[in-house]
Amino acid sequence: MARSADSGLLRYFLRRLAVMLGLLVLVSVLIFAMVEILPGDVGNLILGQYATAENVDLVRQQLGLDRPLAVRYLDWMGGFLTGDWGDSWRLGTPLAPLIGRRLYNSVVLAGVAFAFVIPVSITAGIVSALRRDRLTDRVINGISVVSITIPEFVSSMFLILFFSLLLPWFPSSAMVPEDAGPLTTLRYLALPVIAISPVLIGYIARTVRASMITELGADYTRTAYLKGLDPRTVITKHVLRNALLPAITVIANQIAWLVGGLVVIEAVFNYPGIGQLLLQAALVQDVPMLEAIVLILAAILMLSNLAADLLYTMLNPRVRAQATGGAT
């Protein structure tokens, strides 16, 4: 039994991976096609506004843009698959180290943010549910609702104003010096992390609270209490295990946003993450850079969702039965 369930899970996993690869190919085609349709011209963008028509043609030729779209796509795809990501059109530098460094920065920022957000939000959600309708709950609930509605570009401006300009505690630019140790790194990342946290904390805390309340009122909880189990045991062993499941999905959904979607935060704090690079690549139609970044971010999004689903499946026997049942 157990073996067949496991192989069912494996097949489910492989099927998901195959779908994912197909989607990535589709995304890459779409980007090529969209850049083709968009107004504006790479030659003009590279040479500046007063470029002569001959020079624009020359640049297009140098970039191979005089070839048919399909040929260009296959050529790019071939290179990408064999690890040759090529050079950025605009910057003329190899893409892999550039994107690698930016991605690393973004992952560091996302990691620090999660390390802060997850414990705080889950604790808030649990406390809020246990103290349901009491003052603690109302306060936490109120803060959550308000914090969801504060856009990060507003909170970041206030943070810079108070904690960087009026009280010079933190640098206004979050670009971490190369030789910085962990503590210095935290000092540089503090303001951006605090700026993006409220939305996440509010969102996750409310999710946890809602599912906690559902589980606290569930039949099995009442049974456990009636069996005379210690309330602490009921909550840690039974309720939490179920109540935290929805939080996994919510958190996984935020990973891609935290890694690639912090365009505003990166601009305000001049943080060299991948979001700004993506924006610039789109603005100047730097196709190789745009493709590489979007594919990486898409893969991160899909993988984090897949990981969440797998985790969910493994922790929740009911879902597991469904997933494997369909396959066997």
């Binding site: 020359l58 300009l165 924006l279």
Partner: protein
């Protein structure tokens, strides 16, 4: 199959992401950061115009104080796109490369032509130019600077296979037209006389690189300049060390510098306020009022000939009637734009390009066109538009606010303007076809250059499609005249024609702005937005 629905949704979201980002491009967020300059925009000064004039070679910077010891400067700049000196096209490029290089002739912040790698220059006929080169100068790799390097530099600049933006300006110079007479003399054989050729070689792309330069300035940053580029990380930062063998004795004063690139000007301003950086190489005029006075930050201002033009196609209705163009010009409250939109960091202009920063135009005395809505209405009625006109104005992100102001000022006179704001690159693909357009024209150092580019009959960038043979004759006369008094007279005639005919409404000349913290001294704003850190120090 709920999973597949979810996957589809994700796909839609993913596909929409780049689209959203590109749509965001329509918003005016990147224009100032990427404000493009064109080749040769900074050519020359008001002197050095014709024939046998000779540069003053005695003016080499003398030793002023001990070399180095001036501290370490951190400055904010817009991110460069390319740092190949001959391919530069944006301010970030220039602000990264210029500390590393020299030119044949330096364009001073007072717009004078100063000897740089050339000590003297002369020409008999304006067509054959001889430059005497400085001796004893070495590149950062230790090799000697000679005439061969100048030949290689200019051959590369005008090589049709290289696509330097400078090639569009150096139309009078061909590959092979530059020859080495001896090790320290170079001769330019131009295809036509250019009286102020020494002014043209100050073009920011015309940085002198070694003849055996192998390309890739990030790994081979070899110039003769005051600083050596030791590290360059695209779109992030650059580090410089003082060049110990720099040929100007006692310079540079700084020991080292770091450039930090900011995609966003707002972040630059908070960085200079918080002291994260000491200097901003460019402060956009519309952000000047976000820098509070007395906060330890000083705004440095340099008057320039940079201006906005509202161009009207004189070969299309309704702009083919000069009265309609004059009416348009009469609706603009120039003082209000200068005071409120530029915070005073601009000068009122009078519908011509001959700015007071030019020596020839300093004493220019022409009736100033003030706002007069009644007169504008009257002119419109005379031109057969008693009910006013409905027109469409096309412009791009960075200057949308000025278009907005102009539209509001024109409405009471019955000129109803609908504004279309395009991404910069889209705009410049069709700007010369637009009936009513608005764009920024960057400073040029030769007073004749802007009229020649923008208003000569049939010129490529003559956006209004205006043609006036008298005006063209005056441009030629100006190019061929050396005497300052006569040049001023010709300039005055040109200004009067533009003012009367109004092919473009020109309401202001804007200052070039930069900002420093109070611990920085020895830095100036430059009209053409060049950077010169030779005498800068940080406490």
């Amino acid at each position: 199959m709920a999973a597949s629905v979810r996957q589809t949704l994700r796909l839609v979201l993913l596909a929409g992401l780049p689209l959203l980002l590109v749509l965001a491009a329509c918003a005016p967020i990147e224009d100032t950061a990427d404000e493009q300059l064109e080749a040769g925009q900074a050519t020359g000064a008001t002197e050095g115009t014709q024939g046998t004039e000779t540069g003053d070679g005695s003016e080499t910077a003398s030793a002023t104080g001990a070399a180095g010891g001036g501290g370490s400067l951190t400055y904010a700049a817009a991110p460069p796109n390319t740092i190949d000196p001959h391919m530069m096209s944006s301010l970030g490029d220039i602000h990264t490369v210029q500390p590393v290089v020299n030119y044949l002739v330096r364009l001073g912040s007072d717009l004078s032509l100063q000897p740089d790698l050339a000590t003297e220059w002369e020409s008999e006929d304006g067509q054959t130019w001889t430059f005497t080169l400085r001796e004893g100068v070495t590149f950062h790799d230790g090799s000697d600077f000679t005439a061969e390097d100048v030949v290689a530099t200019f051959d590369r600049l005008v090589d049709p296979e290289v696509a330097s933006a400078a090639a569009g300006s150096f139309t009078f110079l061909e590959k092979g037209g530059t020859t080495a007479v001896d090790d320290h003399t170079v001769q330019f054989d131009l295809t036509e006389p250019v009286g102020d050729f020494p002014a043209w070689v100050t073009a920011y792309q015309a940085a002198i690189l070694p003849s055996d330069w192998e390309g890739d300035f990030a790994t081979n940053p070899i110039g003769t300049g005051p600083f050596e580029l030791t590290e360059y990380t695209p779109r992030l930062s650059a580090r410089y060390e003082r060049n110990p063998d720099y040929w100007e004795e006692g310079l540079p004063k700084l020991d080292s510098m770091e450039a930090i690139y900011y995609e966003d000007f707002g972040a630059q301003i908070t960085a200079i306020q918080s002291g994260d950086v000491d200097l901003m190489t460019l402060l956009p005029g519309d952000l000047v009022d976000t820098v509070p006075a007395g906060g330890g930050v000083e705004v440095l201002s340099a008057p320039s000939a940079t201006h906005g033009q509202i161009t009207m196609r004189v070969d299309m209705e309704p702009w083919d009637d000069v009265r309609v163009r004059q009416a348009m010009a009469l609706t603009v409250d120039r003082e209000q734009i200068v005071e409120e939109l530029w915070g005073g960091h601009a000068t009122v202009a009078n519908d011509h390009t001959l700015a007071p920063v030019y020596e020839e135009a300093e004493a220019l005395d022409l009736d100033r066109r003030a706002q007069d809505i009644e007169r504008a209405q009257q002119l419109l009625t005379e031109a057969g538009h008693p009910d006013g006109i409905d027109v469409e104005l096309t412009t791009y992100g960075g200057i949308g606010i000025f278009a907005q102001a102009v539209a509001e000022m024109a409405a009471p006179a019955g000129i109803r303007i609908e504004i279309t704001v395009e991404p910069t690159d889209v705009y410049y693909q069709h700007w010369t076809d637009l009936p009513l357009a608005m764009e920024t024209w960057l400073h040029r150092s030769s007073i004749a250059q802007m009229p020649s580019l923008a208003f000569r009959c049939g010129a490529d960038w003559n956006v209004p499609h205006w043609c006036n043979e008298d005006f063209d004759a005056l441009i030629g006369e100006l190019n061929a005249t050396v005497d300052e008094g006569e040049r001023a007279e010709i300039a005055a005639q040109m200004a009067a024609i533009l003012h009367e005919e109004v092919p473009s409404v020109i309401a202001w000349f804007q200052d070039t702005l930069s900002a420093v913290r109070d611990n920085v001294s020895g830095y100036e704003s430059h009209p053409a937005n060049f950077v010169d850190f030779r005498t800068t120090t940080v406490e």
